[in-house]
């Protein structure tokens, strides 16, 4: 089921197109990561889908509904990019107020459980005016899930929080997803997106330049994989045979006395290489394969043309 679907969605501020015709589909149960630099249009995109700002063109649907009806709002939780609260209310009062706005009566026990999930149970009765930025961020996440939505939009969920809290939030996101919740998140943290998202879109100047799973992005990255082999010392005839064998897979081979590195196109070559070298009587002690990280892909793609180059699963 398509939880989010956008068609040529566009937002212009004056003459500047901040979101420039985005076609996107998010399926139920995905953790969809939206990656891009500041000003790429990530938050604007989320803000359009959640009713904070109005699209200039195109259309979108959530749960196949084109309007944000009360039923749809009940199914959706949102952490906007800036989490500002009512200073005079406590954390638990906020959760009760926000859930009540969605038409859900969240009891004190449920609110405390929600705060506990984000590590804020002890701050339940403290006024938000005294909260740090990180605590407000956690409360923002708590309010986005307090009414048990089916889809949550998280705009930079871990920005501004300490490393320990970031890990806690990432674990919470995974846990929510395991419970069947679809998650759409933006992040600057490439490592985080790589770690928890099942599907990723790279956005630049209002357009999605690349989209796919991590594996698909790596394939699109068109980069090689570097295999390092630690083996028994090679005598001259074995060295030559090894080189002849490895030449079938790569032109970039570096054979040392006890360590060899080979650049290959796909990971499919790895078991064949291991088997082949073993058959040549070479004892392999360790094999490591370095794949390009999302950061490497992202940095390479930053200069890519503005054409949408998508790859669907």
């Amino acid at each position: 089921m398509d939880v989010i679907k956008t068609t040529s969605l566009r937002k212009e501020f004056g003459k500047q197109a901040v979101v420039n015709g985005i076609d996107l589909t998010v399926k139920q149960g995905e953790i969809y990561g939206f990656l891009g630099r500041n000003g790429a249009g990530k938050s604007t995109f989320i803000n359009m889908l959640t009713g904070i700002i109005l699209p200039s063109g195109g259309e979108f649907s959530l749960f196949s509904e084109k309007a944000l009806t009360p039923e749809i709002r009940r199914k959706v939780g949102v952490l906007p990019d800036y989490s500002t609260f009512y200073d005079h209310l406590t954390a638990i009062q906020h959760l009760r107020f926000f859930s009540s706005l969605c038409g859900v009566k969240a009891g004190k026990k449920h609110c405390l459980e929600t705060l506990d999930k984000v590590g804020m149970k002890e701050q339940a009765n403290k006024k938000v005016g005294k909260f740090s930025f990180g605590m407000k961020k956690k409360l923002g996440i708590a309010q986005s899930v307090v009414h048990n939505p089916e889809l949550i939009f998280l705009d930079e969920p871990t920005s501004g929080v300490d490393a320990e809290s970031a890990i806690q939030i990432q674990e919470l996101i995974r846990e929510l997803n395991r419970g069947g919740m679809t998650i759409f998140m933006t992040s600057h943290n490439l490592h985080e997106v790589e770690k928890i998202c099942t599907r990723i879109a790279i956005m630049k100047k209002g357009r999605i330049t690349h989209e796919g799973t991590m594996d698909e992005l790596r394939k699109m990255h068109n980069s090689t994989m570097n295999i390092k082999l630690v083996h028994s010392p090679l005598a001259s005839p074995k060295k030559e045979k090894s080189y002849a064998f490895l030449s079938k897979f790569s032109h970039n081979i570096l054979i040392g006395p006890t360590e060899t590195s080979v650049e290959v196109g796909t990971e499919d070559s790895i078991p064949i290489i291991i088997r082949g070298l073993s058959e040549l009587g070479i004892d392999l002690f360790r094999v490591t394969a370095d794949q390009p990280s999302l950061e490497e892909i992202f940095l390479e793609k930053k200069g890519s043309p503005q054409t949408a180059d998508k790859m669907h699963a």
Partner: protein, 228 residues
């Protein structure tokens, strides 16, 4: 809608503002009653003509009601937009419900303040001034809808504070000028003013209610088309 209404009501009612408003209305009405007592014959045969306290209260509400409402609620929408708490609200409920909820919350606050003030005055006037109370509520709800519209139309609270004060001072002056003058260039303004219909009395008092609904509809229209 009810959630926003009670949230708005509680945030207004919790503060010192409530006591201040009740104190000002009660104190000023009591003092004005002395002055109004000298003009009872000119005020006619209605509740105003019979009761100096009613006259004092109405003078206060008519001339300063918009000023009070503007002072307390000029930033009811744009404050939440600029502080971004509005982003939480619009993702959870419709914009129409936000405007109506805010309107109801502020109206509830003023209804309670006026009721307590009228109740206190009744201990001197020896009767509860129901007609004046109803007219006050009608005028105050009109003022609330006007201030809500300004709060939606201008995104910056500093602007609405300034424009609210100017409006609160100019609006009664221009309205009474339009009612009194025979100059056709100015007199048409009276039809847009609730003062004219309160002055006419009778069923004309329903006109400000219709104007309130119209202003609310305009606020909703604008709010639905704005980025937050």
């Amino acid at each position: 809608m009810n959630t926003i209404c009670f949230h708005e009501f509680k945030s207004l009612f919790k503060s010192f503002k409530t006591l201040a408003i009740i104190g000002i209305i009660f104190g000023s009405s009591y003092l004005l009653a002395d002055v109004m007592g000298q003009f009872m014959q000119e005020l006619g045969t209605g509740e105003l003509g019979k009761n100096a306290y009613a006259a004092g209260l109405m003078i206060l509400i008519v001339f300063f009601g918009l000023f009070f409402v503007s002072g307390l609620s000029h930033d009811t929408i744009n404050r939440e937009v600029s502080s971004r708490t509005m982003r939480f609200l619009v993702t959870k409920t419709s914009r129409t419900k936000i405007i109506i909820g805010k309107f109801m919350g502020i109206s509830l606050f003023w209804t309670l303040c006026l009721f307590i003030s009228f109740l206190l005055i009744s201990s001197f006037s020896k009767e509860f001034l129901w007609l004046s109370f109803a007219e006050s509520i009608i005028f105050i709800t009109y003022s609330i809808s006007l201030i809500l519209l300004i709060s939606v139309a201008f995104p910056r609270p500093a602007v609405t504070m300034f424009s609210g004060i100017i409006l609160a001072l100019l609006f009664p002056a221009v309205s009474f000028w339009a009612i009194a003058t025979s100059n056709p260039l100015v007199s048409w303004v009276k039809f847009l003013s609730p003062y004219y219909y309160i002055y006419l009395g009778g069923s004309y008092i329903l006109m400000p209610i219709a104007m309130t609904v119209l202003l609310l509809a305009l606020s909703i229209f604008l709010f639905k088309r704005s980025d937050l």
